[in-house]
């Protein structure tokens, strides 16, 4: 049973970055812009968040407030970086996949350059401990206390809050409805007076904010508050895209998909603690491949009836019909 709790407690901090970034991708794609730059946006968020932590870690602020402030910094950085994508893909009508790839290539190189120049290392190492051993009172609750309120990070609660907020914005506001219209049929949306360019900027910017936060939460929850240019975010941005497709571009399905992938990954990295898997004596690399292989299997079964936004990937041009 302890192994079970251990796996769940470790799954959540991994699932939250995937969830947030996939939600970001959802906003962007439902507005009609393919955001393959999520990997780069995550790394931007992780880098600037960690940079912020690095500079304030010796001050008297307590760890959780630093984390919250770092989150805001990461969100801002992600937003700014995503503007580069909207500028090229919405205003300049460039190919969205190519622009995204360029942004993905730019940031690891920039981080390596910056870190080598100023820190003489490959990235940023912080020594602040964000880990929460147990939340007072709540951790005493049977079962749920062990799952949610022991050995965890504050990122888990923020992530769930952002999920609920996203779902409300997406389904219960005028803005959400208009955003979705722009991804399905931008010309129809335009004909009833919706500014398609603005909505697409908004969609990409939301994905920048969520992607930046997700990246910082990855650095906190998975990398222990560190970030570096070589490994980056280890393909989490791309995995998040797969999570988004698996979740059929819908918030709560995305949550389930994120939990599924995070669980597989956690299992892969904690084989030694699971007696019956350890006894099989399979090379650990197979388990590391598992999340990627599972993505492929899942996509193979879900893509046929894919509910992808109809207008995604096509730059909106008023003059076309």
């Amino acid at each position: 049973m302890d192994t079970f709790y251990y796996l769940i407690q470790n799954t959540l901090p991994v699932a939250i970055p995937l969830l947030l970034v996939a939600l970001g991708g959802m906003f962007s794609e439902r507005s009609g812009v393919i955001n393959i730059a999520l990997e780069g946006i995550m790394l931007v968020g992780a880098f600037f968040g960690c940079l912020f932590v690095y500079f304030v870690q010796s001050s008297s602020l307590d760890a959780q407030s630093i984390l919250l402030l770092g989150m805001l910094v990461a969100a801002g950085a992600g937003l700014l970086y995503s503007l580069l994508l909207s500028l090229a893909a919405v205003t300049m009508k460039a190919d969205q996949t190519i622009t995204g790839t360029a942004l993905n290539m730019l940031i690891p190189a920039a981080i390596l350059l910056f870190s080598k120049m100023f820190f003489n290392s490959d990235g940023i190492t912080t020594n602040k401990n964000f880990y929460i051993k147990e939340v007072p009172f709540l951790s005493e609750v049977p079962v749920l206390g062990k799952i949610f309120f022991q050995n965890t990070y504050i990122t888990v609660y923020i992530g769930i809050l952002l999920l609920v907020l996203s779902a409300i914005v997406f389904y219960k506001t005028k803005f959400g409805l208009r955003l979705r219209a722009c991804g399905e049929h931008p010309h129809a949306a335009d004909s009833v007076g919706i500014n398609v360019y603005f909505m697409r900027y908004a969609g990409v910017s939301l994905s920048g904010i969520l992607g930046g936060i997700g990246g910082f939460f990855y650095a906190v929850g998975v990398m222990n508050g560190n970030t570096n240019g070589h490994t980056g975010v280890a393909g989490f941005g791309f995995l998040a895209l797969a999570v988004m497709i698996f979740g059929q571009w819908k918030p709560f399905k995305i949550l389930l998909a994120a939990l599924f992938f995070a669980f597989l990954r956690t299992v892969a990295y904690s084989i030694a603690l699971i007696p019956f898997l350890d006894a099989l004596n399979i090379n650990q690399t197979y388990y590391k491949m598992l999340p990627y292989l599972a993505t492929m299997v899942v996509l193979a079964f879900t893509s046929k009836k894919s509910r992808a936004p109809k207008a995604e990937g096509i730059p909106y041009d008023k003059g076309l019909r």
Binding site: I36, L84, A88, M92, K93, A94, D95, T97, I98, T99, T101, A102, L103, M105, L106, P108, A109, A110, L112, L113, K116, M117, H230, T231, G235, F238, L241, A242, I245, N283, T285, Y286, K288, M289, Y292, L293, T295, M296, L299, A300, S303, K304, S306
Partner: protein, 385 residues
């Protein structure tokens, strides 16, 4: 006098024609992207260390000429991955999986190099072919997923980049004949598996650059002179129209990605089988769980070359050239990562360079026609008088 006028007006006419042609505008677009990227690089150097920035930038630009052999040596793999990306682009497929195909090709070549005992004269040829097959395999999978299961090839090939990387690292580390665990790298390949050198001193440049250029030319012919190439481009323009015209898009998707994979796989084989400048050694591979960078540089090469095989030859040499320059700029204290930043910025701009190019061209045309009308009028009046 009049003759001159006629010939010059003809020249202008020709220039206008050339200016309107697609290849020319692609060339100027690439040039524009390169210039913007380089300006950005200079600004970074300027910020990093203003004192040496001019010398450093000069080295970045012309340093490659001092290492001409190396420029071609390092151009070979990215030329191949560039072809892998560019060829698929022609069909509207974004083969971001060149990294995985490259890694698989490299592993297959390594495997044959170490494990098969063959006569010296054909050993390296078989190694190259093995590399090609490895790449094909890793191109086939996204092809099948795309053609039969409607899975976006971008996601598939990204996933297979990771799967390939982990798989190869595991297989290399598990093979005692290949891997020296104390040095965390592969052992030296036997000399018979290494490619014949071109004999330029202090450089590993070898026969593979000639093979790569030949392959680029073959792909150019396939694309422009064969039915398959025509179908491929037609499907790239409008897959519904081409399906309606009776083209088998499923077969073409798979075939395209297999050929693309073969190119990237050859790139990996060429890279690992290159002869070393130090006698008795060879190129080695370190399994460090990092996606092969040459695959992503291939994307840059393909975009800069406008996915045209001939353009890709030049863009590969150019990128290799500034990479060498960037390495040499470290003499002035600059980090070679500057080049990676510059390349990324070049791709970013090249994504909308065509559009920028058109607006710049319009601006020039407006200016030019204004000036011309101002200048020509008095000249005419003179002649009339």
């Amino acid at each position: 006098m009049q003759d001159k006028m006629v010939s010059s007006s003809k020249a202008i006419e020709n220039l206008k024609k050339a200016g309107k042609s697609k290849g020319f505008s692609a060339f100027t677009a690439a040039l524009l992207a390169i210039i913007l990227g380089l300006i950005f690089g200079y600004l970074i150097m300027r910020i990093a260390s203003p004192a040496n920035s001019f010398l450093g930038f000069q080295m970045l630009l012309i340093g490659g000429f001092k290492r001409i052999g190396d420029v071609f040596y390092f151009a070979t793999p990215i030329l191949m991955t560039g072809l892998a990306v560019g060829f698929a682009f022609k069909m509207g497929l974004f083969n971001i999986g060149a990294s995985g195909q490259y890694t698989m090709g490299m592993f297959f070549a390594l495997y044959v190099g170490f494990m098969w005992k063959l006569p010296d004269s054909i050993h390296w040829i078989v190694c190259i072919l093995a590399g090609m097959i490895g790449g094909m395999l890793w191109g086939l999978i996204p092809g099948i997923f795309k053609a039969f299961l409607n899975v976006n090839e971008v996601i598939t090939s990204i996933m297979f980049n990771y799967i390939g990387m982990y798989l190869v690292d595991m297989l290399v580390q598990g093979n005692a004949a290949m891997y020296i665990s104390s040095k965390t790298r592969t052992a030296y390949l036997p000399a018979s598996a290494q490619l014949p050198t071109l004999g330029i001193p202090h450089s590993s440049v070898n026969i593979s650059i000639i093979l790569a250029i030949t392959l680029a030319l073959i792909l150019f012919i396939v694309l422009n002179k064969t039915t398959f190439g025509y179908e491929l481009k037609a499907t790239g323009f409008n897959k519904f129209a081409s399906a309606y015209a009776g083209m088998n898009d499923k077969r073409n998707i798979i075939l395209t990605l297999v050929i693309a994979g073969a190119m990237a796989g050859l790139g990996g084989a060429f890279a690992i089988l290159a002869p070393s400048t130090i006698a008795g050694s060879s190129m080695t591979y370190e399994p460090v769980s990092v996606i092969a960078a040459n695959g992503f540089n291939g994307i840059a090469v393909a975009l800069l070359g406008n996915s045209n095989p001939i353009g890709i030859i030049f863009s590969a040499v150019f990128i290799s050239h500034i990479q060498r320059g960037g390495t040499l700029a470290s003499l002035y204290g600059y980090k070679p990562e500057i080049i990676d930043v510059v390349i990324a910025v070049i791709i970013y701009f090249s994504a909308f360079a065509m559009l920028m190019n058109a607006s710049v061209a319009n601006l020039i045309k407006k200016r030019y026609s204004k000036k011309q009308s101002v200048k020509i009028l008095p000249a005419d009046q003179k002649e009339g008088a």
